[in-house]
C-alpha cells in the first residue's frame, strides 16, 4: 500500500534516480513521502527546497513545488518562501556538508528564528557527489579522499548544534530504523516552528568502500545499527559505554511562538488593528 502512496507523490518520469545502488537517500525520501501522506497535505501547498549534492536532487523527483538552490543555502531560500507565504508547508532537505559546513550560518539562524520549516539532514558523513571528501560530520579516524590518513578533526553533532541554536523540535533518526524515521519525520512536519531531523544514513560508494564497510549496502546499514542507540537507553549508559555511539529519538519538542505568527501580530499593531 505504501508503495502506491509513495508513487502518487513521485515524478515517475524522472526515474531512475541519480543515487547509487545501496544509497540511503531513497529510504529517507520514502519516509518523508509516507509522513506527508499521513498528514494529508495538499501537494500544491508543499514546497520542497534543497541545496547541492546528492540530497539536493531530492526535489526533482517529487511532485510538489520544488526548488533546487545553491550549496548550503536551502534554508535562506526557504526563509523567503515561508515569509512570503506562511500558508505553504516548507521542507528543506540538505546533506551534512550542505547543512552544517557551507550552510552552517543559515542553519543556526533559521533555528534561532523558529520559522516553521522542517530541515531534514541526510547525514552520511561524507561529500558523496564530489567523490568522498571529508565532511564536518565525518567521525575521527574515518577515511575520506581529503583525509587519506583518517579524519583528524572532531565532528559536529547536528542534534547538539540544533539544540544549541534554539530549534524547537530536534530529532535524530536513521535509514536503518525506518518505521521510526517515518514517525519522527511526521512529527517534525506537524511541529509548528523550526524542526530538525538529523538522519544518519549511508554512502556505500564513497564512504563504505574507504572504511572497511565495502560497497555492500547491508554492511553499511549494520554500521548504523551498531552505533545508534535509542535515547531512553542512552540516558542510562555510562560515559564509557557511550563512546563511539550516537543516541536517536526525539530530543526536544517545545511549543514557542512561530516567527510568521509573531510578524503577523506586529503587523496588526502597526496598522492599528489590535
Amino acid at each position: 500500500m505504501y508503495t502506491d502512496i509513495v508513487r502518487e507523490y513521485l515524478r515517475k518520469d524522472k526515474f531512475p534516480s541519480i543515487w547509487c545502488p545501496g544509497c540511503g537517500h531513497g529510504i529517507i525520501l520514502g519516509a518523508l513521502l509516507r509522513a506527508v501522506y499521513k498528514l494529508g497535505w495538499d501537494k500544491n501547498k508543499i514546497v520542497l527546497v534543497s541545496g547541492i549534492g546528492c540530497s539536493g536532487r531530492t526535489p526533482g523527483y517529487v511532485d510538489f513545488n520544488t526548488l533546487h538552490t545553491t550549496h548550503g543555502r536551502a534554508l535562506a531560500f526557504a526563509t523567503g518562501i515561508k515569509m512570503a507565504n506562511p500558508e505553504l508547508h516548507v521542507i528543506a532537505v540538505m546533506g551534512d556538508g550542505d547543512a552544517v559546513a557551507i550552510g552552517g550560518n543559515h542553519f543556526i539562524h533559521t533555528a534561532r528564528r523558529n520559522l516553521d520549516i522542517t530541515a531534514i539532514v541526510y547525514n552520511n558523513s561524507i561529500y558523496g557527489m564530489t567523490g568522498g571528501q571529508v565532511s564536518p560530520t565525518t567521525p575521527v579516524g574515518a577515511r575520506a579522499t581529503t583525509a587519506p590518513y583518517g579524519c583528524v578533526e572532531k565532528p559536529f553533532d547536528v542534534v547538539e548544534l540544533a539544540l544549541g541554536s534554539g530549534a524547537t523540535f530536534v530529532a535524530r533518526g536513521s535509514s536503518y530504523h525506518v518505521p521510526m524515521l517515518d514517525n519522527i519525520i511526521k512529527e517534525a512536519l506537524a511541529h509548528k516552528g523550526f524542526s530538525v531531523v538529523d538522519v544518519i544514513t549511508t554512502c556505500p560508494t564513497t564512504f563504505g568502500r574507504r572504511n572497511r564497510l565495502t560497497d555492500d549496502p547491508v554492511k553499511n546499514l549494520e554500521w548504523i545499527k551498531e552505533r545508534l542507540v535509542p535515547l531512553s537507553k542512552w540516558e542510562k549508559m555510562s560515559e564509557e559505554e557511550r563512546k563511539g555511539k550516537l543516541p536517536f529519538g526525539i530530543f526536544r519538542k517545545q511549543e514557542l511562538p512561530e516567527l510568521t505568527e509573531l510578524y503577523h501580530e506586529m503587523d496588526l499593531k502597526v496598522r492599528g488593528e489590535k
Binding site: F64, T70, G80, N105, D267
Partner: protein
C-alpha cells in the same frame, strides 16, 4: 504629494510604489538606512521585512519570496554585492525577478565605507559566474532614485531578470524634493502569469516568446526550479541543443530589446563639439561644468545613461556622431571608459576619473574639456 527624501529613502518609496512587498537584507554602510526605511514601511503596507544573517542569505531569501509571486528586493554596498553574486547568477539562470540596490562606496575590499565611488560598474555587468544578462540603472538625483527603482522592478518583472540600482554614497544621503506620483500615475508592470492549465505549464517554455510566464509557488502550478542547466520543463539536462537554446535565450531576451530597455538624458548635445559621457553623482558635476563652459562659449554637452546595462550602444553612437571628441568622467580608474572606447572606436575618446573617495569637482572637468579643445 511632495516629500523631502534622501536617495536611499526614495529607493525604498519607489520600491513600495512598484509593489515590492518583501525585503531581506544585511546592514552595510552606506545602504543601511534603506533597509531601515523598509523595516518601517513594509509592515504598514502588508509587506514583510527580515534582517538576514548575511548577504548571501538575503539574496537567497528574496529569490524564494519572488518565487511565491511577491516582488522582492535587497540593498547592499560593494562587499555585500560581491557576496550576493552567487545568487545573482542563480536568479539569472532560474529567471526569477529580483531587485538589488547597490549603494556604491570606495573599494576594493572594505575600502572607504563612508565615501562614494563608482567602482562596481563592471561587477554589475560581469560579477557573477557564467553567461547571463542583467539590467543596471544609475540614478543621478533623489527623484530619479524613486523613478528608476520603479523602472528596475518593471524591467525585472517584464524580463524575469535580476535588476540593479547602482546608486552611490552621494546620492544616497543627499536630500532633495521628490514628487511621489499617485497610484496608477506611472506604469507598474507585474510578471506575466500562465494562461494555460497546470498540466500544460512549463516554466521555461519559449514557444510563446523569449520571456515565459512565471507561476507562483502555491498557486496550483507545481514545477521545478534549479540552477542546473535545464530544458523548457525546468528539469536538468545535458543535451547541448537544449542547454544552448536556454543560454542563448537568457542573453538574447535582453540583447534583442536594448532599445526598449535603455533610457538616457541628453543635455545641450545637439550643437556640441565635445560630448561629456557621465552617470550617477558624477554627471551632476559634469552638468555644472558644462553650464560654466557654455558661458565661455564652449560648445559642450552631456550624454547621461540612466540604464547602463545593457549598454546603450546604438544610442550613444548616434549622439556622438560628428562630434570632435568624447570625454568620459567617472569615479573609478576607468571602467565604463573602456566600454565607450570600444563602442566609439573611430573617435577621440578621453577619460578622466578618480577613486580616492572625493567627488570630481566641476572645475577639474572644465579644465579637462579646455585641454581637449587645445590639444
Amino acid at each position: 504629494m511632495e516629500k523631502l527624501l534622501s536617495g536611499n529613502e526614495a529607493i525604498a518609496e519607489g520600491a513600495i510604489y512598484a509593489g515590492c512587498r518583501f525585503f531581506a537584507g544585511y546592514p552595510i554602510t552606506p545602504s543601511s538606512d534603506l533597509a531601515e526605511r523598509m523595516s518601517f514601511r513594509l509592515p504598514q503596507v502588508g509587506g514583510r521585512f527580515i534582517q538576514m544573517e548575511d548577504e548571501i542569505a538575503s539574496a537567497g531569501a528574496i529569490i524564494g519570496a519572488s518565487l511565491c509571486g511577491i516582488k522582492s528586493m535587497t540593498a547592499t554596498s560593494g562587499p555585500g554585492f560581491s557576496l550576493m553574486q552567487e545568487h545573482i547568477s542563480f536568479a539569472a539562470m532560474a529567471e526569477v525577478p529580483i531587485v538589488i540596490a547597490n549603494i556604491q562606496r570606495g573599494g576594493p575590499s572594505t575600502g572607504l565605507p563612508t565615501f562614494p565611488s563608482q567602482q562596481d560598474m563592471m561587477q554589475a555587468r560581469w560579477g557573477a559566474h557564467g553567461d547571463y544578462e542583467a539590467i543596471t540603472l544609475v540614478p543621478c538625483s533623489v527623484e530619479e532614485c524613486f523613478y528608476l527603482t520603479v523602472k528596475a522592478f518593471n524591467l525585472s518583472e517584464k524580463y524575469r531578470v535580476p535588476a540593479f540600482i547602482l546608486s552611490d554614497e552621494v546620492i544616497a544621503h543627499l536630500r532633495e524634493k521628490v514628487r511621489i506620483p499617485e497610484p496608477g500615475e506611472i506604469e507598474v508592470i507585474d510578471r506575466e502569469k500562465p494562461r494555460v492549465p497546470p498540466e500544460q505549464y512549463y516554466p521555461y517554455d519559449d514557444s510563446q516568446g523569449e520571456v515565459p510566464p512565471l507561476a507562483a509557488f502555491g498557486s496550483g502550478y507545481r514545477y521545478h526550479v534549479t540552477g542546473l542547466a535545464h530544458d523548457i520543463t525546468g528539469f536538468p539536462t545535458h543535451d547541448p541543443e537544449k542547454v544552448g537554446r536556454l543560454l542563448k535565450r537568457i542573453v538574447d531576451k535582453i540583447r534583442n530589446h536594448v532599445s526598449e530597455i535603455v533610457e538616457y538624458e541628453e543635455y545641450m548635445v545637439e550643437d556640441a563639439d565635445i560630448l561629456v559621457f557621465s552617470y550617477g553623482c558624477t554627471s551632476r558635476a559634469c552638468k555644472e561644468a558644462i553650464q560654466e563652459l557654455r558661458r565661455d562659449g564652449v560648445r559642450v554637452g552631456l550624454w547621461r545613461p540612466k540604464v547602463i546595462w545593457p549598454f546603450p550602444e546604438e544610442e550613444l553612437k548616434k549622439a556622438a556622431s560628428g562630434k570632435k571628441a568624447v570625454l568620459v568622467v567617472e569615479m573609478n580608474y576607468k571602467q565604463i571608459g573602456y566600454e565607450v572606447e570600444r563602442i566609439l572606436c573611430d573617435m577621440r575618446v578621453h577619460w578622466m576619473g578618480r577613486a580616492d573617495g572625493e567627488i570630481i569637482p566641476p572645475e577639474e572637468i572644465e579644465e579637462e574639456v579646455k585641454c581637449i579643445l587645445t590639444s
